[in-house]
Symmetry: D2
Subunit: 174 residues, 4 copies
């Protein structure tokens, strides 16, 4: 299945997870889990992962990926993140890959998340909204612009081709 946005690129995921600072025993929520790539990687460290998406096809895709990886600590929730967060207990870290209603989601997350909140964004409007909202909520830590190029073989040599740049926005109690 092809989900809009596609899976997070490895290099962007590696930085995002590092900025999350997940520790053993953590409760982690992945908002807009898409293919489940981040949820699966986080599940190797976290105690429980909540994977949320409002798209049935994303949940189906991520569930299949989780099952085929033999992972049992990912709990799925199809619906709006706001809804999930209203009834959830405290969370240790959160990753936000989707951007619909971001200010409200961030406000809800900031009430439940004890550690870091990491957002991936490709639109400059989302970057701006994330930084502005985090500043307003007093949880802004840093934003990164990540530009990775990967080598390709060409005519007996090596050239770099770029992947799309991604903004990683990090918030949390400072």
């Amino acid at each position: 299945m092809k989900l809009s946005g596609g899976p997070t690129q490895d290099e962007v995921m590696a930085i995002s997870l590092f900025k999350l600072g997940l520790k053993k025993g953590d409760i982690f929520v992945d908002v807009g889990c898409g293919t489940g790539k981040i949820a699966i990687e986080a599940s190797r460290v976290a105690e429980h992962v909540y994977a949320i998406d409002h798209r049935a096809e994303a949940i189906a895709c991520a569930e299949a990926a989780v099952e085929s990886a033999g992972i049992s600590n990912v709990i799925f929730f199809q619906g709006e993140a706001i809804e999930f967060l209203e009834s959830s207990g405290p969370l240790d870290c959160a990753f936000v890959g989707g951007s619909v209603g971001l200010p409200d989601v961030l406000e809800a997350l900031s009430r439940k998340v004890l550690g870091n909140i990491v957002i991936n964004a490709v639109k400059i409007e989302t970057l701006n909204e994330a930084v502005t909202t985090m500043r307003r909520l007093g949880i802004f830590k840093e934003a990164l612009s990540v530009q990775v190029c990967r080598s390709y073989d060409i005519a007996g040599g090596t050239m770099f081709k770029p992947i799309n740049p991604v903004y990683i926005i990090v918030g949390g109690k400072t």
Copy 2:
């Protein structure tokens, strides 16, 4: 016609021409002229432009572009740059877009060019060869890595997509 490599991207051309420092009255040589894009832009400032390519299809393509732009100060030479440089008089600036036999071409250019020599490279081997050769010839000024992203509309927003990174290597009497 589709030439390998394709025309230089506008932003890379703008920087390359700036680094050339072309002045009115200059004699300019474009080694590996391809579609003629650089030669045409340079012809607006230079007195004479020599456009060189060993590929008949490149010369044909560039000649057509020069003609349709109504430009009359570009002189074409189909063959090896080394051959051209053996019999040419002094030159003010040179641009090198192609990379075959680069060390020999740079050595020949360094004997004829009074001003700057600017190379565009996408392969890391070419970058390395250009810098190493220019250092050996005592004409290395600087190398640039240029990474440009252009905006695209996406889902009611704006995202950046990168063009391939290009190395611009600048040499000349220092």
Copy 3:
């Protein structure tokens, strides 16, 4: 004198001027001229350059630079761009290096400028404001993110050091 922001970097200036598409005979305005670097470069092509800055020290700095370059087609205006634009005639191109009151300045520029308007921005809030305002005015063409690295000698080798990334936003009648 040290003006905040500092002069535009060569590579960013080269791309910005290319995107302006200045032609002989053009009337050009440089809003927030700072050290005058862009105004001076544009004056080599444009018929007249209006260099505007509300800071007396910027005008003094730019005037000195213009004089020492022996240039006579730059006209200075100390004050707000809005004020200048109210009484100016039609303009061919505009460059905006400063960002105070950008939406109002863009609105005023869009009424007077026949060709392209190019903005340089380093803040993501300015990027967002520029794109949003240009979209609202129906003059948005493209935004670029420009990341240039320059070579430095290190321990018998060559490494790249980046200059600060700059956003170049381009508008005009489309």
Copy 4:
């Protein structure tokens, strides 16, 4: 203590470790361990970490960092990597942060390392040497160019400042 090169930046380390693909039980070697930052991070997953540096001050610095982190599975070796590798048993992964005698080190590593070898380089000559040597040894997988910018507060807004670009070269049995 200030070691030349300084510690690996977090974002570059995150990507490098991801590309290493360390698993529980792995034997890992850090060639040119410097401050010990990579060795410490890897020690959280690997069974044993060998941290090698020919500089006494690097070993002292890394040993202090390891001790203050309460880590007990890092074994230090002051001397040349070649020397260590001659007598070592098989290794699962290797990270190379230093670049002296890289071709020989890579050749020795390729005989002992079962999994991935990841190199960090800032010099273009090192990048070229790493890629060329890995290609010759038949172990080249990919090279990355990583350009990260971090946000800074400026005049009521947010701008990006770049950290130095780093090349990450990945090799291993393919």
